[in-house]
Subunit: 422 residues, 2 copies
């Protein structure tokens, strides 16, 4: 039997040592490793698929749902996707070492802030084996050592992927412990990991709300997290109607199982009569179930089937083709509704009125606030970060899409020539 | 008897509401409030000193140490210092509302990051009543509501100061609950406060290591903290000797009870013979006790009294006129010693060699790394932040001196004209 406590300790110490070396590895070397990692995944696609088969067979025996099996499955296309992702990360600029805000003080010393890795990052995730390669690639590029803890249902797949990645590290001459995988299905491993702030600088969970809540409750290490996405689109009285139709439909239906999908539509009373009947029709035709307030129901009429919204609907992240709809008397009422119910992920205003747009931008306290753009655009790629490890709903450290910069911090650096304090 | 749970809940809800209003208060209004706050403290100096007398009498009865009584005492000069501090905060630029990194994406939407307050900040502090005014001023300027919890020994002083501050808020027309004071000596209040992430966005403790460790262990809310300052000055073989004498003496002795004082001096073996005897003499004459490695002892000779350092000395934050000294064989050995023993607060290299300076800057993982400048210069005022609420030894969110920007975060803002995701 494995001694899990000793195992976690060893992995932690190795990660810490690797992080120290990795922090000043050249961008060039990290890029070579990323390209080799991509190549290694492509070369060993057959092995990866065979390892994935072991997980799938076990999952079927354990009666996992078709959705879970689907998330677990690794195809040639997935492998190519992982490899392509790693190659793209290699193309991004190296965030490490840049010195910002350099300034000369009155005593002539120069003060700036140097961007440096966080150190050791623990990634705790479920199902999708591709997270293994994506997360490892982002951590490597940002100069961080990573400890990966995937779901037990994907252990064979994750082990095989990690083996490819580490092989590439070693070939490049980077420390092999820069990427480590917790190779046990023992559920105590996570709890132990969360209690090692001496080794791990930050935990990033990727998975459902339950996993994240468990981690928040247990962790002695700071967590960068995306909790949930109850996102709002507010159609103002001064909205362009065609834009409002398109943005609502895209925000809700372009993809429904994701955190930046619109879950509640708020409509200003002055435009509701013109807007809602056609909007309801478009949504219904797209296959969306509607849960609406009393006034909305009256305005939509009887030709489109709707449910009456209950208090719970305003707080619900459906993650599916369902939309809550509420008519509000004013922009203030929209702001109040959002303040009370939003999970502070993504909020949209549709308006042609400049003052209202600026007021909404300023007053809505969410990770991303968009004027006349779909909620689905709150995303690291869409925002030009090049890659993302998730979307943070925290306020501290990093808020919104987390790219390479979110995996770094800034330390102060001073160039003096003998300055003392008097 | 007061129901503490209900009290904390009420304070939390009031703070949340005030934070929402304060987040978009104009810089002008906040500045007017700060100036009125300063005036109010000056006008009511007599009342503040009388309130402080109540605390001092009680403290004497409870046999507090002279050092503690000294920290607790509020003089005319302290009151003028608080007022002057608030006036200075009024002069600083308003960090809130600035949009950085604005860029146009290929789909023509513009993406930027708007600086916004964190929301509600809880400050938990000991002794010094001036923290009340300093912290409240910084939180107000950065648009955050603040909940203040001072030490029970200073409750009369803190209550009187807070009363002045709130009066100024109300006169300015800002929400009075933007500054709240937990007016009870019940020790359970802190524990309850730390369990209200629904109301408080961040906790900032100010005090000794024990207080901070208790808060870290109990808090369900993210903490921005300064834990301890075991700071190193490394005198390289390529150091300018005169600089090395001055920087070491200043780093250690300019003020000894502070977090950025040098606690360990590392000396490269090649320069130790020329450097150490005179350095030891200078330190000894300044009243500094020396705890040294075997080689240092030999080089210093018998004319200067020294203690032999034990393993504990390398990890000790003396906060007094004591310095640990160790001779190291190489810059690598210095880096290794720092990696093993530093609390990652402030580290200094003294060298004229460019490559070594840059290597030290890059490889030392501390909040501030200085080349040829005293460790005492790691400070918000010295770094040009205008004011500071402490020096963070965390890596996430803010590292080093925490000024107004450290009390804010950035949310993504998007200006579109109908962009959808395809």
């Amino acid at each position: 039997m494995i001694d899990i406590t000793a195992m976690i300790k060893q992995i932690g110490q190795q990660a810490k040592q690797a992080a120290r070396e990795l922090a000043w590895a050249s961008g060039d070397k990290k890029n070579r490793a990323l390209i080799l990692m991509a190549q290694s995944l492509r070369d060993q696609a057959g092995i990866l698929i065979a390892a994935n088969q072991l997980d799938l067979i076990r999952a079927e025996q354990q009666n996992l749902t078709p959705a879970m099996l689907d998330r677990l499955r690794l195809t040639e296309a997935h492998i190519e996707g992982m490899a392509e992702g790693l190659s793209q990360i290699a193309q991004l600029p190296d965030p490490v070492g840049a010195i910002d805000h350099m300034r000369r003080m009155v005593n002539q010393m120069q003060v700036g802030q140097m961007r440096v890795p966080l150190g050791v990052i623990g990634i705790i995730y479920e199902s999708r084996p591709n997270v293994t390669a994506d997360a490892a690639g982002l951590c490597l590029k940002s100069g961080n050592a990573v400890i990966l803890r995937g779901g037990s249902e994907a252990i064979h797949s994750n082990r095989a992927i990690t083996t490819c990645l580490i092989q590439a590290l070693v070939e490049t001459g980077l420390p092999k412990h820069a990427i480590q995988f917790i190779d046990t299905i023992d559920r105590n491993a996570v709890g132990l990991l969360l209690k090692t702030p001496q080794y791990i600088d930050v935990i990033i969970p990727r998975g459902g709300k339950e996993l994240i809540q468990r981690i928040m409750a247990e962790s002695h290490i700071p967590v960068i997290k995306h909790l949930d996405g109850n996102c709002h689109t507010y159609v103002d009285s001064h909205a362009d109607l065609e834009q409002a139709f398109a943005l609502t439909l895209n925000g809700k239906m372009q993809r429904t199982g994701v955190c930046n999908a619109t879950e509640t539509l708020l409509v200003h009373a002055d435009i509701a009569k013109k807007f809602l009947p056609k909007m309801a029709k478009l949504l219904h035709e797209a296959g969306c179930e509607l849960r609406v307030c009393e006034l909305s129901r009256k305005l939509i009429g009887k030709t489109i089937p709707v449910q009456t919204a209950t208090a719970e609907d305003w707080d619900c992240e459906y993650l599916g083709p369902i939309l809550a709809i509420r008519v509000v008397e004013s922009i203030q009422a929209a702001l109040d509704h959002i303040e009370a119910h939003s999970s502070r992920h993504t909020e949209v205003i549709v308006t042609q009125d400049h003052q209202r747009a600026m007021r909404f931008l300023r007053q809505v306290d969410s990770a991303a606030v968009l004027v006349n753009a779909s909620s689905r655009l709150n995303d690291g790629f869409q925002f030009g970060l090049g890659a993302e490890i998730g979307i943070s709903t925290d306020k501290l450290h990093v808020r919104g899409p987390v790219g390479l910069e979110g995996l770094t911090c800034q330390k102060y650096v001073v160039f003096g020539d003998g300055q003392i304090r008097s």
